[in-house]
Subunit: 173 residues, 2 copies
């Protein structure tokens, strides 16, 4: 158990806030903890056919590079995880999804963030006449599950949520 | 591509630093990004027998709860991932490991952190006459792989690195 004494400082964007807290440890000594107060998030493995899924390529500022990953986003206030992932899929890919199935919910970065990510699979997709958010998404790639698993093994995909979602899709856990 | 204009503010502990940066987006508009400059980390699935592994229970301040997870820690300056995980295993469990095997390296939180976690399996463990870091670790649990997979399915384990390491242990990706 670590008890908060006080928040020493914080940084925020419109999406989330980071706190630097002074805490008392179990042995009574005082230390500091960085803690991101993050909204929950949702991600989806969108099937366009029995064995093909859509991935999005996007620039990730924290990594200073592009990544290939499943569509995902933060849950807005008042939104359910299911509503969030349907909205994000349209924004990022231009596809509407009819049938979604919950796969798993996990915590990606327990050392410094309270984020939880809800993972889904999606089927019965329909392309809308809508432009995708080109500020966020560089390109879409449609790949077979085997191709995606190969790209994970080859480190062409290194994103934790994509790897965990694929493990659950294959019923491997 | 998102170009940094300037860092507006930062928060730091001895372990890592968080920056609030002003960035220019692809369409030329200006936005803010929170970005954790985090050292790389290492984690290990330590086998005490053919089918039993050691997990550690520890309080995670960001989640305000205890979690059950594989031993892990941040890589110190000048340390290799292999040296790091051997040191962390001793500190967190009191066990020395002779044989380690790299499983995978991934990025847990690409939305706001540049952290990479190197995952290993470990065999040929030896208990040392050494106290574990009780400020950090609440207890050790020795469980079979099947028990751990069941606890993941039941959400008694929700930690991303533990889930990914177990998927690779089972050669499921």
């Amino acid at each position: 158990m670590e008890q908060k004494i006080q928040s020493l400082a914080s940084l925020g964007t419109k999406n989330f806030t980071v706190y630097l807290d002074e805490v008392s440890l179990r042995n009574g000594s005082v230390s500091k903890r960085i803690c991101i107060d993050h909204p929950q998030a949702a991600a989806i493995v969108p099937f366009v056919s029995e064995n093909e899924i859509i991935l999005v390529r996007q620039y990730r500022y924290a990594l200073k590079r592009e990544t290939l990953e499943i569509p995902a986003g933060k849950i807005d206030k008042g939104e359910s995880p299911e509503e969030c992932i349907k909205r994000e899929l349209v924004e990022e890919t231009g596809f509407e999804v009819k049938t979604i199935k919950w796969l798993y919910t996990y915590a990606p970065a327990i050392g410094y963030s309270n984020e939880f990510i809800h993972l889904y699979s999606g089927r019965d997709l329909k392309k809308l006449e809508k432009k995708i958010d080109e500020n966020e998404i560089s390109s879409l790639e449609i790949l077979t599950l085997e191709e995606v698993l190969g790209m994970i093994r080859d480190h062409k995909i290194i994103d934790g949520k994509t790897i965990i979602a694929l493990a659950f899709i294959r019923s491997l856990i």
